[in-house]
Amino acid sequence: MTLEMLNLSVAIPELFLLALACGVLVVDVYLRDARRNVSYVLSQLGLLLILVLILVNPAADTQLAFNGLFVSDPLSTVLKAVVVILVMLVFVYSRRYLQQRDIFKGEFYVLGLFALLGMMVMISANHFLSIYLGLELLSLCLYAMVAFDRDNPNAAEAAMKYFVLGAIASGMLLYGMSMVYGMTGSLVIDEVASAIEQLPENNIVLVFGLVFMVIGLAFKLGAVPFHMWVPDVYHGSPTTVTSFIASAPKVAAFAMIIRLLAEGMGSLHADWQGMLVILAVLSMVLGNVIAIAQTNLKRMLAYSTISHVGFIMLGLLAGPEEGYAAAMFYTIVYALMSLGGFGVIILLTRKGVEADELNDFKGLNQRSPWFAFIMLILIFSMAGVPPTVGFWAKLAVLKAVVNIDMLWLALVAVFFSIIGVYYYLRIIKLMYFDEAEDNSAIECRADMQIALSANGLSVLMLGLFPAALMSICVAAFA
């Protein structure tokens, strides 16, 4: 094996990220608590550099590295840029939150960076093993991040739950992969794909493996009936960690589904389409209906996530190209909205006040008209009301679904989004129609204000000019 065969230049952003994570880990050891900002700034600058590295050298075609374990293609370029931006935003949002709770430690950034590395490996995986490796790297970091506020019993419980269920999901996924390996004799995704085409149809073992893989993926994405961990983990984690879990990893999970199901098992599309229909419908029904009963905003957004996952599944099952592009658009948009929503919660927190109950949002329009407006945009985007980008995401998915002649599925989807509107409107009602109970001023640093405003306005701007992002998504699957 020579160095050329590794083709390292394809994976430069990942290599940089690895070096960065290790660097922050080392530097942080030598910092006094008062200088902890250095770890933060170092991480942000490193991420900025990685983002530039990704963007200046976008993959024009498919290039393999590490003997076929790793692939770089237009899809991976876009998704990597998105996850890096999302993680940078999470870091901006979390600084003050962590400081106020005395958990402003370098480990947060180290874990975050390693999680990002895991996501990027998942996005660029061309091999069952690299997918699994990336997924586990991501998951282990997330388990630790959920328990980051270690004196908080809720967080510890959430971490435990997340770990146990996550481990089961990983096991399912691995079990499914082993069956597929048994039938196809390969772990490389394109070889698996061509091997499956050679096999006779209705191969029981293969379909069995497929079922286990879909279950594993559904667990990770949080689709009903494998959603049980989502509300508890979202609720129990420190809000910054929730914002992390709710944004970038969903994009990585989307990439994983594309790699495994669309690219690896594309010829079994009819088989997994049926499974995704069930998952999608159940997610939309349960997510939207149960969200109505929530009084905690983090839990409500958790159920809202579940319903969004249902929509993403709709796009995936409506593949190939148009549906995948729609699902990708939806996933990116979802990650932006969800991150913004949790960002506003973080904005309202103070020392000792988590501000995650719905009632904490009462009268936000009096306390801060601007951030009430940002939240308004985000909420209407989640509800899918134009002119926000959430509408175009829903439209893209519905269009793809109608195109494969599953009109009934589109009708189910719109019906449950009507139900969804109800709980979204409740948040607006609290912010705009009710009087504030807590009139304390909202204090936060300029960097967070700018980042959060940009996050909220991006949802509006993308709603007015969705063409560019949509073309990028379409091009990624062309």
Partner: protein
């Protein structure tokens, strides 16, 4: 004037950008600056929209002032604006009404005034967009986006049960519109284009047409509103601030009627023919039954709200009775049918003026007395003689007195209905009695009789600002009533063109 300007873009975007500017101007001090700015924006938009009228070529049914640019390539969605004789009058109605609404809230709204004004301006732009959009997705964006400012207006500045009313309003309308969205996507795959005019020429089987017809019906019937999906309207009207009620009654309801004209009739003519009995029945229920419901109301705003539903029944009746008229006359009797549709259009514009005036009047009383209860009033004429004169005039207009605009539309529709069926016309004509009964009875109880209440005795007559609003509306009502030709002329060719479309079967 303005002939080379992109007028439609201006009437859509000027109020929206102006609204954002008003929002930015903030609520420091007495908001006087915000009010002035809002008024200037509204006046400028109105003047620009008049350019649409003066430059309008009423000899063609083609879309005019067309602007078409690629917007979202991946979806084939275009930034596509244009008006014909059906939409242009409604745009002017919108820009006109917004000025009055801003004037009406001048002193009353003190709480977050800039947000209030901005919401109305943004809504004005969005409503203009609904009327001007020629791409169905573009239309849908405006159609839904319009809900957001209205939701906020009712919820923030509304009455005690505002939260219930506004959420009901939002969910009802949202419910109706999502099915329309699916129908539009479906037609996109049949015709390969989101352009509304391409959808007009799309052949569709009876099953497809029926499903699309009902999807559109869900959207437009809620907006109009038609019985039995009208229940959001009285709640929304009662709780909304005066300006919100005016916009709801004067414009938002018209959007439902416009939707039938622009989408249901030309896209699904065969389904419209097959289900015209349903539409006629629902319209007559609105006219007769809702008329009786209005009679027993004790709340003035609720009464006018129900009267709006009854009057909008005439619009839907006029639109869907054309098939019966054609059925009776051998071949196509374009006179009768175009009389019906033009009557419906005139009724829409006229109802915009009259219901706006009535809600503004109730607003005037409510600002002074903080009650909408008819029983709290009596003998108002003694303390507010000028106001009472206007009130009687608008009440007469609402009852359809000849010479006012209320008469023209109703008369045209009833006349056309006689060509269809005597009994339909008979039932529709009961509105002349019912409308007079509930409106004039309300006026009698509020304005005449003994002064029961010391507060009434102390009432101040309307101030010059309110007087200006009343005069403007009164002139509009009279002008349209005495000489409706300018309105009918611009729409005539478009209506005929529409009817030719509807008369052709689209079955493949």
């Amino acid at each position: 004037m303005f002939a080379d300007w992109p007028l439609l873009s201006l009437v859509v975007w000027l109020p929206i950008i102006g609204g954002i500017a008003v929002l930015m101007s903030g609520d420091r001090g007495d908001s006087e600056g915000s009010r002035r700015l809002a008024l200037i924006v509204a006046l400028a938009t109105f003047v620009l929209s008049l350019g649409l009228y003066t430059n309008f070529d009423s000899s063609t049914a083609a879309m005019q002032f067309v602007e078409r640019h690629a917007w979202i390539d991946a979806f084939d969605i275009y930034y596509h604006l244009g008006v014909d004789g059906l939409s242009m009058p409604l745009i002017i109605l919108t820009t006109f009404t917004t000025i009055l609404v801003i004037l009406a809230g001048w002193q009353v709204i003190q709480k977050r005034a800039s947000q209030y004004l901005a919401a109305f301006l943004i809504m004005e732009g969005l409503m203009n967009g609904v009327f001007a959009a020629l791409d169905s997705m573009f239309f849908y964006v405006f159609w839904e986006a319009m809900l957001i400012p209205m939701f906020i207006i009712i919820g923030v500045w509304g009455g005690p049960r505002r939260v219930y009313a506004t959420i009901k309003f939002f969910i009802y309308t949202f419910f109706g519109s999502v099915f329309m969205l699916v129908a539009m996507i479906y037609m996109y795959y049949q015709s390969g284009s989101f352009a509304i005019l391409d959808m007009h020429n799309l052949p569709l089987s009876m099953l497809e047409q029926s499903l699309i017809f009902f999807a559109f019906l869900a959207a437009f019937a809620v907006k109009v509103p038609m019985w039995p999906v009208h229940t959001w309207l009285p709640d929304a009207h009662v709780e909304a601030p005066t300006g919100g009620s005016v916009i709801l009654a004067a414009i938002m309801l018209k959007i439902g009627g416009y939707g039938f004209l622009r989408f249901s009739l030309p896209i699904t003519p065969d389904a419209s023919l097959a289900y015209d009995w349903l539409m006629i029945a629902l319209s007559l229920i609105a006219v007769v039954y809702i008329g009786f419901v209005a009679l027993v109301q004790t709340d003035m705003k609720k009464l006018v709200a129900y009267s709006s539903i009854a009057h909008m029944g005439f619009v839907t009746l006029g639109l869907f009775i054309i098939f019966r008229i054609w059925g009776n006359a051998d071949g196509i009797d374009s006179n009768g049918a175009s009389l019906a549709v033009e009557g419906a259009m005139v009724q829409m514009v006229s109802h915009g003026f009259i219901s706006g005036a009535l809600f503004l009047m109730i607003g005037v009383l409510y600002d002074r007395m903080h009650s909408r209860n008819i029983a709290d009033y009596g003998g108002v004429v003694n303390s507010m003689p000028v106001f009472a004169a206007f009130a009687v005039f608008f009440a007469m207009a609402n009852a359809g007195l000849p010479g006012t605009s209320g008469f023209v539309g109703e008369f045209m529709v009833i006349l056309a209905a006689f060509k269809a069926n005597f009994w339909i016309a008979f039932l529709a004509a009961t509105t002349l009695i019912l409308g007079a009964a509930y409106t004039l009875w309300m006026v009698k109880r509020v304005f005449y009789g003994e002064i029961k209440n010391d507060k009434v005795k102390a009432l101040q007559d309307i101030n010059p600002r309110e007087r200006l609003i009343m005069w403007v509306l009164a002139v509009a009502v009279l002008a349209l009533g005495l000489y409706p030709a300018p309105l009918v002329d611009v729409m005539h060719v478009s209506v005929d063109n529409l009817l030719q479309h509807v008369a052709q079967s689209k079955l493949p």
